[in-house]
Symmetry: C2
Subunit: 315 residues, 2 copies
């Protein structure tokens, strides 16, 4: 089974030979506390098993994909305060509750692996994936293998500083890629501009409520030709391209996969602008052979990737 | 044999079981043209063999470490204009001249590998090396293996943009790490300040001749407490630390090795300043276990690393 534990929803899926047999989706509702979230995870898994019409004993193992840093060997979610899990022994507790072996994986790694095995990056061996959303998640596949680093938490591509002293990031630093090219970066600029009367159509829709500045709103404003929003989106893509260029110069990849809500909603023109900025900012010798593709699997990327990680490491 | 082809000098060394048996050093003198440089490479190799008191037939193979991008499979130096080599079939020509199998490797990769096998990074498995000098070379060892990327030219860590729109880099971009933290970056600032009367002791020594602003000059000015130069060096170390922090967030390494002329001359205080900036700018979860060490092997790093690359890939 592959299980995707996100900030707003969780999906549990029974997967056979890489194909999803059944799935169960539930809200995460982290406000109810870690115990409630934990119980909902087990219920989601049991429901998906029941829907697949198999027995618990038929499930060889579960890969639970989670946000935030983790201790993979110990099976501990180290620090995911927005879900209420801090040093939470997720593996031991889940195995105890379900009687099935559980492995933890980073959710962005799982999503990247999904795109590699059965999505937009199939057939490539050196892959960098970037998922701009609330933050910017990064996944790294080198020579066909997920790269996790010395302690298992590599790939924080969103916290690469590309503008020393630039915009404040959620991590406390200034000028991180995700402070400049995430959906949050866009929302901050847009809510201020709209509140100042600079983007009337957006203000009419979302007012001055920061939480209402979502990817869909930006896509519509872009289409409606709202000038200030268009320029913000262009700037956002420009910065994303600088982050992509850095990845090209550092990793010499074959392909860069772009995914996540912002990319899905803004679509092709946004991707081509980011790509143009990438080609402008990277070394010619390295960037000339790089392909930029949009992620294909959407919600299925993480659950299928999680299952493939188990399949490919069965020993 | 390991051979180090640099912009100013070349070193050929016969290596047995990782230890240098003999070495021969010559100036590169690229001004005399690629044919003259090529002839000097073969002469340097033959001299080192003679000094080792062995026969050509006793040399199993040669790893020639070169600057600039290369096509490893074809044995072509793609673009090293400052040495006169552009699409130069170095492997074929050298094998023809010497009758010994030749492999090409990037010089920074070889130096990093040397520090990994018998220098400052011995015993570690996830290693990032940075060598600030004219530019900033980068070497990457992941899980004990040199990481070369899809086409063999990964590791351009010096061309990671850390200050969008910042100082002009030799590559044509703005705000690359090497535009802010190389010796060249320091020389540019220092020659201007000294010429404007802001660093009298340095002006007395190096005048307004940019080419005279070398690592030794900076180390002496630092020691002599020349205020403006000290501040420039502190800024340089600060930016280097941001590049190091990005590497920590991206790679989750165990150790960062700093080497090259500037680091050797400026020494411990410079390294500790760069480390402090790294710790300030990286994610705590990733940086807490990272060690920063100074490269140990100096001139021997490349020739010994080149030889070890052969030893470890004998098949």
């Amino acid at each position: 089974m592959g299980v995707d534990l996100g900030g707003t929803k969780m999906i549990g899926a029974v997967v056979k030979d890489g194909e999803v047999v059944s799935r169960c989706k539930n809200p995460t509702d982290p406000g109810e506390g870690p115990d409630a979230v934990f119980d909902r995870i087990t219920a989601t898994i049991e429901k998906a098993i029941a829907k697949a019409d198999v027995l618990k004993e038929d499930i060889s193992c579960i890969c639970l994909a989670v946000p935030g840093p983790l201790d993979r060997d110990m099976g501990i979610m180290a620090y995911t305060p927005n879900l209420g899990f801090v040093n939470f022994p997720m593996k031991a507790k889940l195995e105890n509750a379900l009687g099935i072996p559980v492995f933890l994986e980073n959710d962005v790694n799982a999503g990247t692996y999904g795109e590699y095995k059965c999505g937009a990056a199939k057939g490539f061996r050196h892959i960098i994936a970037l998922f701009p959303g609330t933050g910017i998640g990064g996944g790294i596949i080198l020579d066909g293998r997920l790269y996790r680093g010395a302690s298992g938490n590599a790939g924080e591509l969103g916290h690469m500083i590309i503008q020393t002293g630039g915009a404040l990031c959620g991590c406390g630093q200034y000028g991180c890629l995700e402070a400049l090219a995430s959906r949050t970066a866009l929302s901050k600029d847009a809510v201020a501009a709209a509140s100042a009367g600079k983007a009337p159509s957006v203000f009419e829709r979302s007012g001055s409520d920061f939480s209402q500045y979502k990817s869909r709103v930006f896509a519509d404003a872009y289409e409606a030709d709202e000038g200030v929003i268009r320029r913000m989106i262009h700037k956002n893509a420009y910065y994303l391209g600088i982050g992509m260029a850095n990845c090209v110069n550092i990793f010499n990849p074959e392909v860069i996969v772009l995914g996540g809500g912002l990319v899905e909603k803004l679509g092709e023109e946004y991707i081509r602008r980011a790509e143009k900025s990438m080609r402008k900012h990277a070394l010619d010798t390295l960037v000339k052979d790089v392909t930029v593709v949009e992620a294909e699997l959407g919600d299925d990327a993480v659950i299928r990737g999680a299952a493939y990680i188990l399949l490919d490491n069965m020993e």
